[in-house]
């Protein structure tokens, strides 16, 4: 394929396919287990209390939780059972305990409202915490006002799908992450909505996982945060109005496809923050109204292809510590500054991008401009060194300086160049 390293794409597709496979397997196994037993919990049912039902259940049973208020302290699930809520039963931790602790594999949790986990700085209590388990499915729950929402540690092959996770954090120290994954593998995080947490989704030492179609907005720090998590993909997510959109740090081989990074505003705010990463693909994303679309520091061998940078303060801030990145076929339009950098060293390739600021011509009508484009404006360099100079932006003298620099580049590095800029945007 066109951009190399496309085998990753097929990998993701395989992952998505295998999701379907798993759910079929689960259905089959459920129907097998269902022949075992179904326990009803509720006011007018066999079990009044959840803890009693948990005690009575054996492996493979289904517990139907009918609507009502359940405040029974910490509940530990230590056998493979399914919890299914009917009419949104509320499990309330009353800000005293962690609510559901999953310590067995093959558990299903669905249709519950889980709220009010306690706050603790040492042991990270969560609404639903999975300890060292695999095949735990957490599907379609509502999580309200917890310290951590869903917490996975040492977990494998878990599915977190269609949950609504909301918290009301004000201070970074006082609130946990929406979906927190630590030392896990092969997770699927799909279609969740997360807001008001510290990080919407947090990955640390998580591998071979996919994050798909989530909406993460109004979180205090990042919409999505990667640390030391290799071989993951996040696709078609929306990150809106977070402290910063997404941070990918100290990581290799992450796929970022078709995400929206919108309105991540602030003094040190970025749509996408990349730090010390390598071999990543960033394709088809849309960056709109961020202070900086992408900030790259110490990034190597990343392909940034067919993204749209629209109406940002800075389209890309690419530090001189980045090398061997390829920035191809992107659209830069309506940004105050398309690109800025902090040094003279340029080890990256810019090619075939569309620059709205380009003023060249196309005589042979091949769709590419005949004269190269210098995307780095003088004033972006000045503003980089001396931020308060932004105050004079768009004044006559600044315009004059920028023009002169365009004609005779002397201060900006002359190899910072797009040899074949596009005449028309890739996406209209």
């Amino acid at each position: 394929m066109k951009y190399g390293r496309a085998y990753k794409l097929t990998g993701v597709l395989f992952l998505l396919n295998s999701m379907r496979l798993y759910s079929i397997i689960f259905c089959i196994s459920f129907s097998y287990f269902l022949s075992a037993r179904t326990l009803n919990v509720g006011k007018n049912f066999t079990f009044q209390k959840l803890s009693l039902a948990f005690k009575a259940a054996s492996a493979g049973d289904t517990i139907l939780i009918h609507s009502g208020q359940y405040s029974e302290g910490n509940l530990i699930i230590d056998k493979p059972i399914s919890l299914i809520g009917i009419g949104w039963p509320v499990l309330d931790g009353e800000k005293k305990v962690e609510i559901l602790s999953v310590k067995a594999s093959n558990v299903l949790i669905s249709g519950l409202v889980v709220k009010g986990s306690n706050y603790a700085s040492l042991e990270d209590p969560a609404a639903i915490k999975v300890y060292d388990a695999s095949h735990v499915n957490i599907i379609g729950n509502k999580l309200e006002d917890n310290f951590f929402g869903i917490y996975l540690q040492y977990s494998k092959k878990c599915v977190i799908r269609g949950n609504k996770i909301r918290a009301y954090g004000k201070d970074e120290q006082m609130i946990g992450n929406g979906i927190h994954c630590w030392k896990s593998d092969s997770l699927q995080i799909i279609g969740n909505e997360i807001c008001g947490h510290r990080d919407g989704i947090y990955f640390e030492f998580v591998t071979h996982s996919v994050i798909w179609r989530n909406r993460s907005h109004n979180n205090i720090r990042y919409g999505l945060h990667f640390m030391f998590s290799n071989d993951d993909a996040y696709i078609s997510n929306v990150f809106r109005e977070n402290g910063s959109g997404v941070a990918v740090m100290f990581t290799k081989r992450v796929l970022m496809i078709n995400n929206h990074f919108v309105e991540n505003w602030g003094d040190a705010s970025y749509g996408l923050l990349l730090k010390e990463i390598s071999d990543c693909n960033i394709l088809n994303n849309y960056f709109n109204k961020n202070t900086a679309g992408i900030y790259l520091e110490g990034v190597s061998r990343a392909d940034i292809v067919e993204n749209t940078f629209d109406d940002n303060g800075w389209g890309m801030k690419i530090q001189a510590s980045c090398m061997d990145n390829r920035i191809l076929q992107n659209d830069f339009k309506g940004n105050t500054f398309d690109v800025s950098t902090n040094g003279d060293l340029v080890l990256n390739t810019f090619e075939n991008n569309y620059w709205q600021k380009y003023e060249g011509y196309d005589l042979n009508k091949d769709g590419f401009g005949d004269i190269p484009f210098h995307p780095l404006s003088l004033y972006s360099k000045i503003a980089e060194n001396n931020p308060s100079a932004m105050m004079l932006y768009r004044s006559f003298i600044v315009m004059l300086m920028d023009r002169t620099e365009k004609v005779m580049p002397s201060i900006t590095p002359d190899n910072f160049i797009d040899e074949k800029p596009r005449m028309k945007p890739v996406y209209l």
Binding site: A268, G313, T336, Q356, R394
Partner: protein, 255 residues
């Protein structure tokens, strides 16, 4: 005063130069908006018009007009009229005529093409800039009797505020970049009407970039509603002060 105003406006319309100004502005803005498929880009170019062309024309036209009407002014002074009324009549006549030309030339296409908030801000600043530079022209004409010197001074005033002032600011910024100069810079911008207008527009156009600017101070000051009010009030002050000084001088002036 109303009668003087009427005479001035009729005279200016007969002059046709203001008409030409309106037409030039109209041609510029219509073509800018119809050439660019993106109205934001048209707004951007019009910003430069508002910040450069409008003050230039306002100050030079007013100066020349006042020098040319020197005999008419002498005639008026010999009548039983208050000098203050004569002076105010000329000021309002000039600024209303120029403002009307600006509204027809640039205001209408702006309202037509650009989004409302942006066009309102551009129109307000354009009008205020017109008032400020007519007022500065009044001051210039009252300072010197010699027409050539007066016009030279007017051009200098424009050049200073449009170009040199920003150059000086830039210089200051680099010289003192190691010091916390944000507050001083905010104070200094109020010394130039064009800068005040530019920043009011900038805050609408480049919000995202300014959000990144480390001096949150700057944004907090100018970005808030009260900051906008303050900059507008400063612009009004910039129109009123030269007018007041020139009026006082005109009252005592030996014609």
């Amino acid at each position: 005063m109303i009668r003087i105003l009427k005479y001035v406006i009729l005279d200016i319309i007969k002059n046709r130069l203001v008409l030409a100004y309106a037409i030039i502005l109209a041609v510029l803005s219509w073509s800018l908006f119809s050439l660019e498929d993106n109205s934001a880009k048209g707004v951007l170019s019009l910003t430069n018009v508002v910040l450069l062309l409008v003050p230039l024309f306002s100050v030079i036209f007013s100066t020349i007009y006042l020098y040319n009407s020197a005999e008419f002014i002498e005639l008026l002074v010999s009548q039983p009229l208050k000098r203050r009324d004569i002076w105010l009549g000329f000021y309002t006549g000039l600024s209303l005529a120029l403002a009307a030309a600006f509204m027809i030339g640039a205001g209408l296409p702006l309202l037509f093409f650009a989004d409302l908030g942006m066009s309102l801000i551009l129109i307000t600043t354009g009008l205020l800039i017109t008032f400020v530079f007519v007022s500065l022209a009044m001051l210039v004409t009252v300072m010197t009797r010699d027409k050539a010197r007066g016009i030279g001074l007017a051009i200098l005033v424009w050049l200073f505020f449009a170009v040199l002032f920003d150059g000086l600011m830039l210089l200051l910024m680099f010289q003192f970049s190691d010091y916390p100069i944000e507050k001083t810079m905010i104070g200094l911008t109020s010394l130039s009407p064009i800068d005040l207008a530019r920043i009011m527009i900038l805050l609408r156009l480049d919000v995202s970039a300014l959000m990144g600017f480390t001096g949150a101070l700057f944004r907090d000051f100018f970005g808030s509603r009260s900051g906008e009010m303050i900059s507008m009030a400063l612009l009004v002050l910039w129109a009123a002060t030269p007018l007041l000084i020139s009026g006082l001088r005109f009252r005592k002036k030996d014609l």
